[in-house]
């Protein structure tokens, strides 16, 4: 059974629909990556999957149940989302932020159980943020800040984790670090991870399941080796490229052509 799926999902903000009649099933216990050009609706889809956006038609199903019919706090115990570029209030410490990830488990009387404390410490340790726990977020670098937000999402202790471009604004070393962390969470704890990534090669390296989105529709989905073709990149991104094998990971690697290097020059 698929943990998270959509049936004839249509999502829109004010005007025309961004996602139209979309059927998608997220494989449980795997890393799924959404790729697509700017404005194709992949971030909107991710927000829709996380019930942040009310569908215009169709719905999202968590374990077969309509996600909008479940209590939002109950959903928050099973599914966490980290949107793109979140901003914390000035002066908030990393530990305070991570502790807020425990909100779905708290009530008026139980605001800080032993379990809360244990999971917050664990999330700080997993992301390597323990030494920075007492620092204010606004004093940290972009990479550290991103890890702090990820620690908050981890403290939420959900089997499904959705992330919108978790690597933006990070240098390459930090990008790899964040992706490795997500991979480890998937491997050791079996968490289902769905993320939007811009870098196709990173997407191929880390994804078990790749979904290419174009104009609000799934253009192709499946294993990276099946989805990542020259035809897909041409159709979805409007870019000529060559697909080679990643010398390290053995996954498909996209080498773009562009105007500077046209087809005749390429000797691959």
């Amino acid at each position: 059974m698929n943990l998270l799926s959509t049936r004839r999902l249509t999502l829109a903000y004010d005007g025309a629909p961004i996602i139209m009649n979309l059927d998608l099933a997220i494989p449980a216990g795997k890393i799924t990556t959404l790729v697509g050009p700017n404005g194709c609706g992949k971030s909107t889809l991710l927000r829709g999957l996380a019930r942040l956006l009310t569908p215009r038609a169709g719905s999202v199903y968590l374990d077969g149940a309509d996600i909008f019919k479940l209590s939002t706090k109950a959903v928050a115990k099973r599914l966490g989302i980290l949107p793109q570029g979140p901003v914390a209030p000035e002066g908030l410490t990393v530990r305070d932020l991570v502790a807020m990830g425990r909100y779905p488990y708290q009530n008026w009387l139980q605001q800080w159980s032993k379990e809360d404390e244990r999971l917050v410490e664990q999330a700080l340790a997993t992301t390597g943020m323990t030494p920075l726990a007492y620092r204010a977020l606004d004093t940290l670098s972009g990479g550290q800040r991103q890890r702090a937000w990820m620690a908050m999402a981890l403290a939420q202790d959900t089997e499904i984790l959705l992330l919108d471009e978790p690597t933006t604004f990070l240098d390459l070393a930090h990008q790899v670090e964040v992706l490795d962390l997500l991979y480890e969470l998937n491997q050791t704890e079996g968490r289902t991870i769905v993320m939007v990534l811009h870098d196709l090669n990173q997407a191929c390296r880390y994804a078990d399941y790749l979904v290419a989105v174009r104009e609000g529709q799934v253009w192709a989905e499946g294993l990276p080796a099946q989805v990542m073709t020259e035809a897909m990149v041409r159709e979805v991104f409007g870019l000529e490229c060559r697909i080679v094998t990643d010398p390290v990971a053995g996954t498909p690697m996209c080498v773009p052509l562009g105007r500077k290097f046209n087809l005749q020059d390429v000797r691959l």
Binding site: R51, T72, P86, A88, P89, T93, Y103, W112, E117, Q156
Partner: protein, 348 residues
């Protein structure tokens, strides 16, 4: 064990709480300073009374002078209590508005909520001169809530910028100010003079009757704001994060907005518009106990009470025997503070 948190987790009870470690000390010191300021304020006047005598009189102990109980308990104490309560209301309102809008410049005075409360209360005074005192906060609450909703609809939509919110609020406040002037101009002379004294933002001549009109509002909404402080923390991280964590955003935000409007309305109905308290108190509070609201709300509330009590005392001491309304003092201090925050906020 935690370094920055104080954890309350009794073994026998299904309870657990967490507070900033600085909280008890700050609460104690701030509480004592506030009490001292209140005693000082009560002692101040045409007929000065030494602090120890003030304390003795309030506690009902025998004093040097048989007139003290009347002067202290009947004439002066309610004024100081009102000043404190009004400060608490404005401070909590400001804390909630700053948290909800994620805007450090939000304040019930600056974004026009106080002006809404004023115009509603003045209308009531001018149209129905014999209206009972307890009706004023109800009317002011209505005005405050109307403006809060209006601003919400006009400026809040889709994470508007801090500047837009402020500009919108300033615009609405000036329109409402004009409306208040209009009411005052056309009103009947006796009720107008009553309204004018009240509009200046002063706790002059407030009696136990005023305390009784203000107290129920504080008694209901202060605890409510404390109960909702964790929700406010999460809302402060933005709508998407809050929804993702299981907050019913519209519902919780609506409730908090209601509390903010009620506190501002009750404060304005009692003492007119005392500006910038809702701006300064949360900022000073954050310096002391950080930005999480479980600790910030009570500390900002005390800070707000302290600010208004001190402003009232300063207003009477600075140019004695001339008495300045405490709203003048808070504006003289608060306006430069606002400009400082505005400049710093632009740089960020």
């Amino acid at each position: 064990m935690s370094k920055s948190w104080l954890v309350i987790r009794p073994r026998q009870l299904p309870l657990s709480f967490r507070l900033d470690r600085r909280m008890p000390a700050v609460l104690l010191v701030l509480g004592l300073v506030t009490l001292a300021a209140m005693v000082l304020n009560v002692g101040q006047g045409e007929y000065p009374i030494p602090p120890m005598e003030v304390l003795k009189t309030i506690l009902g102990l025998p004093t040097l002078n048989p007139d003290y109980p009347f002067i202290v308990n009947t004439l002066r104490l309610p004024r100081t209590v009102v000043a404190f309560g009004v400060g608490v209301g404005l401070a909590i309102s400001g804390t909630i508005l700053q948290g909800l809008t994620r805007n450090p410049l939000a304040d019930p005075g600056i974004i026009g909520v106080n002006a809404g409360a004023s115009v509603a209360a003045v209308t009531l005074i001018v149209l129905f001169p014999n209206v009972p005192l307890f009706a004023l906060p109800v009317s002011a609450f209505g005005g405050a809530l109307a403006v809060a909703i209006l601003i919400y609809l006009l400026a809040w939509d889709k994470g508007s910028s801090p500047m837009r919110l402020i500009l919108m609020g300033v615009g609405i406040a000036s329109v409402l100010g004009a409306l208040t002037t209009l009411m005052v101009t056309f009103g009947e002379i006796n009720s107008v003079s009553q309204a004018l004294v009240w509009l200046a933002g002063s706790v002059y001549g407030r009696s136990w009757e005023n305390v009784r009109a203000l107290l129920p509002w504080l008694a209901v909404f202060v605890p409510l704001s404390l109960v909702l402080s964790t929700q406010l923390n999460v809302l402060n991280l933005g709508d998407d994060i809050a929804r993702g964590l299981g907050i019913k955003v519209e519902w919780q935000r609506g409730l908090l907005l209601l509390i903010g409007a009620a506190m501002a309305g009750a404060a304005v109905a009692t003492a007119g518009t005392i500006g910038f308290v809702g701006l300064m108190a949360p900022h000073l509070g954050r310096q002391l106990v950080g930005p999480t609201h479980e600790g910030l709300i009570p500390i900002a509330a005390l800070m707000g009470g302290l600010i208004v009590v001190l402003a009232d005392w300063l207003g009477r001491v600075l140019f004695a025997p001339i008495e300045l309304p405490c709203g003048v003092i808070t504006a003289a201090v608060g306006a430069p503070y606002f400009l400082y925050l505005l400049i710093r906020n632009r740089k960020r």
